[in-house]
C-alpha cells in the first residue's frame, strides 16, 4: 500500500546482480583460458607503474574519487529512505468557497484517527476478530484506508469480510461520503495468543 517504488527496487537488484554475474563470469572465463589470462596479467602489471605515477602526480584524482563516493552514498541514502512512505494522517479535506449563504466559507479536515476509532469499536465487537488496526495511505492522491483485522483462529474469511463490509457501509453513512477501503484479514501473533471461538 505504501508508495515504495517496487520497480526501482527490482531494477536495482537486477543491475547489481547483472554486474556481479558479468564480473564473476569474466573472471572465471578469463582465468580458464591461459592465453587470455597471460595477456591481461602482463598488460595489467605493466600498467601498475604508470597508474601509481598518475596518482602521485595528480592528487586531485583522489579528491574526485572521494566526491564521487560521497555523491553515490547520497543517492543510495535517498534510495533507502524513500522506502515505505505514503502513510497519511488526513482522511478527508473539504473546502467550502465563500458564497451568499455561507459568508465565511471554511475548511473541514478529518483525521484518519476518527475512522480508526469508529471502525475499531464497531468491528472489534465481532467475536471472529481479535484486533483491528486502521491506517491511512495516499495512493495516487487518493486517501485510502487499510483495515487490518486479526482473525480469530478458524474464522471464515468470507463471513468476516461480509461483517466488516457491513460496518464500513455504516461508516460511509456517518461520513457522508465513501473513501476506498482495503481490508486485510491476517492471522498473526495476536491470533495465536487468543483462544478459539467456542460458540458458532
Amino acid at each position: 500500500m505504501n508508495s515504495t517504488n517496487r520497480f526501482l527496487n527490482r531494477f536495482f537488484i537486477f543491475v547489481v546482480g547483472l554486474v556481479v554475474l558479468a564480473a564473476g563470469a569474466a573472471l572465471s572465463a578469463g582465468a580458464l583460458l591461459p592465453d587470455v589470462q597471460r595477456t591481461i596479467s602482463e598488460n595489467a602489471e605493466r600498467a601498475v607503474g604508470p597508474t601509481n605515477d598518475t596518482i602521485d602526480a595528480q592528487p586531485w584524482i583522489l579528491w574526485v574519487a572521494a566526491v564521487v563516493a560521497l555523491l553515490l552514498i547520497l543517492v543510495i541514502l535517498w534510495f533507502v529512505f524513500r522506502q515505505g512512505r505514503g502513510h497519511t494522517g488526513t482522511l478527508l479535506q473539504v473546502d467550502e468557497q465563500r458564497t451568499k449563504d455561507t459568508p465565511t466559507g471554511g475548511r473541514v479536515v478529518l483525521d484518519v484517527k476518527v475512522a480508526e476509532q469508529v471502525l475499531e469499536e464497531a468491528i472489534g465487537r465481532n467475536p471472529d476478530v481479535v484486533a483491528v488496526d486502521v491506517t491511512g495511505f495516499r495512493i495516487r492522491k487518493q486517501s485510502t484506508l487499510r483495515l487490518t483485522a486479526h482473525a480469530r483462529r478458524g474464522a471464515s474469511p468470507v463471513q468476516l469480510r461480509r461483517d466488516i463490509e457491513a460496518a464500513i457501509h455504516e461508516w460511509d453513512g456517518v461520513l457522508g461520503t465513501s473513501t476506498p477501503v482495503v481490508i486485510q484479514i491476517v492471522s498473526g501473533l495476536r491470533t495465536r495468543l487468543a483462544s478459539t471461538n467456542r460458540v458458532v
Partner: protein
C-alpha cells in the same frame, strides 16, 4: 485514478513482496564500501596514514590480481557469478506473499493463506466430527491439502469432509482460486 484501478494496485501491492529488505541490504553494503573508499582517498590526499589499505595499493592489488593462480580466480569468479544469478532471479521472481485478494464494489480484501487454512481446518473438523488438533491444512498457491487423522476405532467419512470443504472453498471469491483435497490418514490416533 478510479477505484477499481486503485484496488487492483492495492491488492497487487499487498500480495507481492516489494523486495525492500534485499534492496536496502545491498544498498547499505554498497554505501559502506563507498564510504570506506572515499575516506581512504581523502586520507591519502591529505597525506595521512591509511585506515586499512591506501588507494594506490588497492589499484595495484586489482591490477596484479590477474596473475593469481587460475583455480583461485575461477573459484572467486564462480561464486560471484552464482551470487549475481541469484540476485537476478530474485529481482524477476513474482515474490508472492502467501495471500490472496478479492475486489468487490465497495472494498478490496486481502486474506492470509493462514486464515484460509484455519478456516478449512475448522470446517473439516466439524464435518468429520473430529478434534481440530487432528486436522492439518496446508495452503499452496492454487491448492489446499487437508490431512485428517481419525481417532482410532472411529470411522471418518472422507466424502462428507470433502463436500464440506469444497462448499467452503466455493464460497471464497479470493484469487488465485483454490482447489482442496481431503486425505484421511490410514493410521489413527488415540484421542
Amino acid at each position: 485514478m478510479s477505484t477499481p484501478a486503485l484496488y487492483r494496485r492495492a491488492v497487487r501491492r499487498e500480495t507481492h513482496s516489494p523486495r525492500s529488505t534485499l534492496a536496502i541490504t545491498i544498498a547499505i553494503i554498497l554505501a559502506l564500501v563507498l564510504a570506506w573508499l572515499g575516506t581512504e582517498s581523502v586520507l591519502a590526499a591529505i597525506g595521512q596514514p591509511a585506515l586499512l589499505v591506501a588507494p594506490k595499493d588497492i589499484v595495484t592489488a586489482v591490477l596484479t590480481a590477474a596473475t593469481a593462480p587460475a583455480p583461485l580466480l575461477v573459484a572467486i569468479g564462480a561464486v560471484a557469478a552464482i551470487i549475481g544469478l541469484v540476485l537476478i532471479v530474485l529481482s524477476l521472481a513474482p515474490a508472492r506473499q502467501g495471500r490472496r485478494g478479492s475486489i468487490a464494489d465497495r472494498t478490496a480484501a486481502v486474506v492470509d493463506d493462514r486464515v484460509i487454512a484455519q478456516s478449512l481446518a475448522r470446517v473439516a473438523s466439524y464435518a468429520g466430527d473430529i478434534d481440530p488438533s487432528q486436522v492439518s491444512v496446508s495452503v499452496g498457491a492454487r491448492s489446499a491439502r487437508v490431512d485428517v487423522t481419525p481417532t482410532s476405532g472411529r470411522r471418518v467419512d472422507q466424502r462428507e469432509i470433502q463436500q464440506a470443504v469444497d462448499a467452503e472453498v466455493a464460497s471464497y471469491d479470493y484469487r488465485p482460486a483454490l482447489r482442496a483435497r481431503v486425505r484421511v490418514s490410514s493410521k489413527g490416533t488415540v484421542a
